[in-house]
């Protein structure tokens, strides 16, 4: 078993040659290394942090935000082995088919392939995130013995399902660094480096290939890695930063001939108390408000717009969860009593629940990361985020919740209150998923995307990008399971490239 190599101890100025360099030891980088473990490909993994949180390393992430209020750039991600899985919540759900489609009502939408292309990789991805058997929208069958989902009848909203990552010895979700450190050590042809910050992607003079990587440590050591192929897997913010900052040969940055790198940044808004659910008879299966463990799967029901409804009504995706029981005010009690009575049902046992949600954002080129004038401890320009969220994103969500309300009334089961309406309302309850996406978007057309369908940077033959930065549209599903599946697909492609 080989040990992790401390980059601070590497001889200054040395040149390390390898087949494949993986930049970043988060879920994408680790999944890629594990997927190529059985191949003869000689690999180097370069992780900026080490095994635990370190304030100086984390500070390299600091930047500036403007526009729609957003999280501090250094606060919504983690820079040590395992990356942001060190603080993720473990929520998993595959993207839906519609999430890959070009939709005429949604500018900039459409992946270069459909969901079927990554479908074969979900089983292994599910195993890597340790979320148990692949159940998801078979959840209603899986949980029959616990209860039945609400019979919402015909309509646009249905009960869909989350699953959760869980380690074998802890209630916390899988932290990729801790969980897979030993597996990485066991890969004979992998050299994993810690404290190794890549500060430059250096192109060959003709700019069509990557020649080498500049590596620096916070102690001032520097050396070079010279790979045949490189995969950039540092998260959607750092991927953009490194591409933009590497502007010595290509003045606009690597892969940025069409000024796309850093644009289309996205996250999932997760506003709290977005709506109130009332069930007239007060009975709601426990898998709505709680995570439910059954036969090795941790499941939770969620309300989701059907793909057909999304197409017909031109609405973005969302996932709405039932949270805590709440007490209604005078108007709420009157509305419930009046509606239940008018529908001929008994509302005297009605219960009300606050609901929360995750909302898909529409792709927006002006929601953008650029380089600022300030520099970090390694001399790298810091990022600036111009956050921009149009109110229409929230209008899509209200439309879906209104449909849920319609279905509940038509089925005489209950009703819904839409708790947020104005821009100020949404701001007052806003939180974020920390799901950074979109900044190196994928498209078959180099004018519309940074990477092609194989995740190769357009025009740079030996540079690939892994992670949710390549998502051209985002869906409402949490990205980790999906980015791992996409990375496994990239691994299969790289095996062919090296063959």
């Amino acid at each position: 078993m080989s040990a992790f190599i401390d980059a601070r101890t590497v001889a200054a100025g040395s040149i390390i040659e390898t087949d494949l360099a993986i930049i970043g030891g988060g879920p994408a980088g680790i999944s890629l290394a594990l997927a190529l473990a059985g191949s003869p490909i000689k690999m180097v993994l370069l992780e900026s942090g080490a095994m635990n949180f370190d304030g100086r390393t984390q500070a390299l992430y600091a930047g500036a935000e403007s526009g729609f209020p957003y999280l501090k750039l250094e606060g919504s991600r983690l820079r040590y082995l395992g990356g942001s899985t060190n603080h993720w919540g473990g929520w998993c759900r595959p993207l839906n088919g519609i999430d890959f489609e070009a939709r005429d009502w949604l500018p900039h939408s459409g992946w270069p392939f459909g969901r079927a292309e990554i479908e074969p990789y979900f089983k292994r991805a599910q195993s890597l995130v340790e979320a148990g058997p692949l159940v998801y929208d078979r959840g209603s069958d899986w949980t029959k013995e616990i209860g039945a989902p609400l019979d919402l009848g015909d309509g646009g909203v249905y009960t869909s399902w989350f699953q959760f990552s869980k380690t074998r010895t802890s209630f916390l979700p899988t932290h990729f660094g801790r969980r897979y450190a030993d597996d990485l050590r066991r890969i004979a042809h992998l050299s994993p480096y810690v404290h190794a910050n890549v500060t430059g992607l250096r192109l060959a003079p003709d700019a069509t290939s990557l020649d080498h990587l500049d590596v620096a440590t916070l102690t001032g050591n520097t050396f070079t890695v010279k790979p045949r192929i490189t995969v950039l897997a540092t998260g959607a913010m750092e991927n953009a930063r490194l591409l933009l900052a590497s502007n010595d040969v290509a003045p606009r940055g690597v892969g940025n001939a069409d000024d796309l790198v850093g644009r289309f940044f996205a996250d999932h808004p997760i506003p709290r108390d977005s709506a109130t659910l009332v069930v007239f008879d007060g009975r709601l299966a426990s898998f709505y408000p709680n995570n439910t463990t059954i036969r090795g799967a941790i499941l939770r029901a969620t309300f989701s717009p059907s793909e057909d409804y999304q197409r017909r009504h031109s609405v973005l995706g969302s996932l709405t969860t039932v949270e805590n029981e709440v007490t209604l005010d005078e108007l709420g009690r009157a509305a419930v009593a009046t509606a239940a009575g008018a529908l001929g049902v008994d509302g005297s046992s009605a219960k009300a629940f606050s609901m929360g949600c995750g909302i898909e954002l529409a792709p927006d080129p002006d929601r953008r990361l650029t380089l600022g004038s300030e520099r970090d401890a390694l001399g790298m320009p810091r990022l600036r985020l111009a956050m921009h969220v149009a109110d229409s994103n929230f209008a899509h969500y209200r439309e879906t919740m209104k449909e849920l309300g319609r279905q509940l009334l038509a089925a005489r089961l209950g009703m819904v209150r839409l708790n947020q309406k104005t821009h100020a309302d949404w701001l007052s309850v806003m939180d974020w998923g920390n799901h950074h996406m979109g900044t190196t978007r994928m498209s078959a057309d180099p004018r519309k995307g940074v990477v092609d369908a194989n995740s190769q940077v357009h025009g740079v033959g030996n540079l690939f990008v892994a992670g949710s930065s390549v998502f051209p549209t985002y869906g409402a599903s949490n990205p980790t399971l999906n980015l791992v599946a996409l990375t496994l697909r990239l691994a299969a492609h790289l095996r062919k490239v090296f063959a």
Binding site: T276, E330, L331, G332, R333, A334, A335, A337, T338, A339, G341, A342, L343, G344, K402, G405, R406, L409, A410, R412, M415, V416, R417, L418, N419, K421
Partner: protein, 123 residues
């Protein structure tokens, strides 16, 4: 074999009256809130009194103040619909067809919302 005990007709009658009285008292107790509820009066009474509790409906109606009072022809159409279908089915059908209004965020069948507006007018 012992003789069958004789029960007089008077005793049976008294027992029957007792059961009936108990049922009546129980019914009054259970239904008292409903019986004591204010009944709407005026031009919309026939519609508003379809609701279980016009006072509760008026609370909802006040949250719909920005909406106009339903026009006479709409109310006539509603009366015609109610002559053919049970009230609860009219309300459920309204929801099924997506005829909805929002009262301070509460999603309501439009007909029910209209009746709530009338209840607020009548209160």
């Amino acid at each position: 074999m012992s003789p069958t005990p004789k029960i007089s007709r008077r005793a049976v009658t008294l027992a029957g009256l007792g059961v009936a009285a108990a049922a009546a008292i129980g019914g009054i107790v259970l239904e008292a809130p409903r019986l004591l509820r204010r009944r709407a009066r005026g031009q919309y009474a026939d519609l508003v009194n379809r609701l279980n509790d016009p006072d509760q409906a008026a609370v909802v109606g006040r949250a719909l103040q920005s909406h106009a009072v339903p026009a006479k022809e709409d109310l006539d159409a509603l009366r015609a619909a109610l002559a053919k279908k049970p009230f609860t089915d009219v309300i459920a059908a309204d929801a099924a067809e997506g005829n909805l209004l929002e009262a301070d965020g509460w999603i309501l069948p439009a007909t029910l919302a209209a009746l709530c507006i009338l209840a607020a007018q009548s209160a």
